[in-house]
Symmetry: C2
Subunit: 357 residues, 2 copies
């Protein structure tokens, strides 16, 4: 059961394959009668040309690669879905990989995409985990590929590539300021692994907010986690059983927030009654459940759209200069915190709002 090829069509129509090709690509160049004869046969045989052969011949590529750490994390899931929908509309074909935050899989995925000769790449690197060496190898591969690439969510400064990032510093800074403005002098934080730039940024925001408010930082309230709910849960337990437990807590991503909430429930504590809390990242279920969840939305859809915009621009014009974009945090807060934040000028009305992105 071999696939029909352009030769089969040409033969049956009694023309050369050049003519069939022309019917397919430049129909105006072929006589109407011939064209119809060929088209009839194409329809009859249900012929459809191979994109693989076509791409080879055109030295073009209609595929793009997507490398993300965890497809089933709602943050990346949303990003992936958005990207896939856009590629579709752009006539691009998405090939996607999941690294599980393992830098070796970064390499492996990049190699495959290089061999597959994708025309572009959207990439949320986990190579930072592996240290400078892994990052260097990834950069090397990226350069070898010689195709446009747009980083998303996670920055690797040396890469000198376009990127779309969340402004984690600003998020950490203002979230902390809001908590302080709400009267807390003891704000705890559960971060991700500080090997990751995005985790460091958010922590830096937290630290500088203290400084800006003239408040000393309490080192004992800083817990370095790894962005998983399990670790966050364990750290939160620890934090909540401190002799002087914090009056407010900032968690630095969705899973960390969940771990914290679990520890809270275990201790039969409630927020905001017993402890104030702001999380970074939206958590979709809470939305579905219409549950209040003070958080900083990261604009996932916006990030994905912007990334694709940068990528397609670079694909169309390879000379486009790399450009980095930072997506501003959007604060989704309960009435009390929102009032405080707006009054103190930490956020203005535009930046709040729960519209789900």
């Amino acid at each position: 059961m071999k696939k029909t090829t352009i030769n089969d069509i040409a033969e049956e129509a009694g023309v050369s394959k050049a003519t069939v090709s022309r019917v397919l690509n430049h129909e105006e160049l072929v006589d109407e009668e011939t064209r119809n004869r060929v088209l009839d046969i194409i329809r009859k045989r249900r012929y459809s040309p191979s994109l693989v052969a076509r791409n080879l011949s055109n030295r073009a590529s209609n595929t793009i690669g997507i490398i993300i750490p965890e497809i089933d994390n709602s943050f990346y899931g949303k990003i992936l879905r958005t990207i896939v929908n856009i590629t579709d509309a752009e006539g691009l074909i998405p090939i996607c990989f999941d690294t599980g935050n393992n830098p070796e899989k970064d390499m492996k995925s990049l190699r495959i995409l290089r061999d597959q000769r994708v025309g572009g790449l959207i990439y949320a690197p986990s190579v930072e985990h592996g240290g400078a060496d892994a990052a260097e190898r990834a950069k090397q591969l990226l350069d070898d590929m010689g195709v446009p690439a747009v980083l998303i969510d996670r920055n690797v400064p040396d890469f000198q590539r376009s990127g779309v990032f969340f402004d984690g510093f600003d998020a950490g800074y203002r979230a902390t300021k809001i908590l302080i403005a709400a009267g807390h002098t003891d704000v705890g934080i559960i971060t991700g692994s500080l090997k990751l730039g995005i985790a460091r940024e958010r922590l830096r925001g937290y630290l500088e907010a203290h400084e800006a408010c003239g408040l000393p930082v309490r080192r004992t309230l800083i817990f370095e986690g790894d962005f998983t709910s399990k670790t966050a849960y364990l750290l939160s337990r620890e934090m909540l059983s401190l002799p002087e437990r914090p009056g407010a807590v900032l968690t630095c991503n969705n899973d960390t927030g969940l771990g914290f909430l679990q520890a809270l429930a275990e201790r039969k504590l409630r927020t905001p009654r017993d402890i104030e809390h702001i999380g970074i990242d939206e958590i979709d279920v809470f939305d579905d459940l219409r549950m209040r969840y003070n958080h900083v939305a990261r604009g996932r859809v916006e990030m994905a759209q912007k990334a694709m915009k940068l990528l397609t621009a670079q694909i169309r014009n390879p000379d486009t200069r790399p450009e980095s974009v930072w997506i501003a945090p959007r604060f989704v807060l309960d009435a009390h915190l929102e009032r405080v934040a707006v009054r103190r000028g930490i956020i203005d009305k535009k930046q709040k709002g729960a519209s789900r992105l």
Copy 2:
């Protein structure tokens, strides 16, 4: 900045491209000295052959297509991630599409995968929505492709393809029986769109459980939704304000469960105190939060693994006969319901257990 090709290597090494190809694929056929010379140049130039050209030449395909309805739904997200990880290990390259439950996108995706000449396909059809006509066109395309395809999660009987499905009838049947066994004569149900086979199956289980228990079905307690949380929420509100509201409710997928819980919270009702509830599908956050959620797990990872197993078997041996597999429901219940269910022999110890799949 053109990519290095096999010709460049051949030229620089002073050999023919046939020799370079042999170095790459059958190194034993080329003299050690020549081989090393070629290999050195390959390394120096960082050459890596084009899989596209290679596939064309071998009339092979190293890609597989994946079509699912909603990447960012945790059910499909998990499935996709599992599949992507397996393809990776198998040396296959995954191309994935999101249909958003729109049959037109089913068609579009299938056409692209056909043109891309994928070597296989994992497919969760949304064409049932579009009626027999859409299903017929999809089947046609699938046949045209002439490659192995494995349906997942959603069955379209006419397709005569391999498939891995959840035993929704059994889930509905036993879940309902458990609720009845717990003493409820008034079990409500919120289904998905009954245009979908999987929704009908689950409802059928509900109905037959009543019959098996000699209990009349109360038509007013059957609410046809569409598997979205929004609709489920609205229906649940309606259900909860019935003069004689049900003592127990079965919801038929994850989002439906969420919608129900939202309505419950709005009415300040709690489960199981005020109303008993079993949902079909796991909801990951509840797991993260260590929150009790009586549900029927669908074994997402198991489904994906099995699907890939069937697919790779068919790819390796195209004569493999289509085979359909039904994954058994796994009940994750609170102590009370579990005791009831086990005592009545509705589930046995093996089928319970909260191990997260």
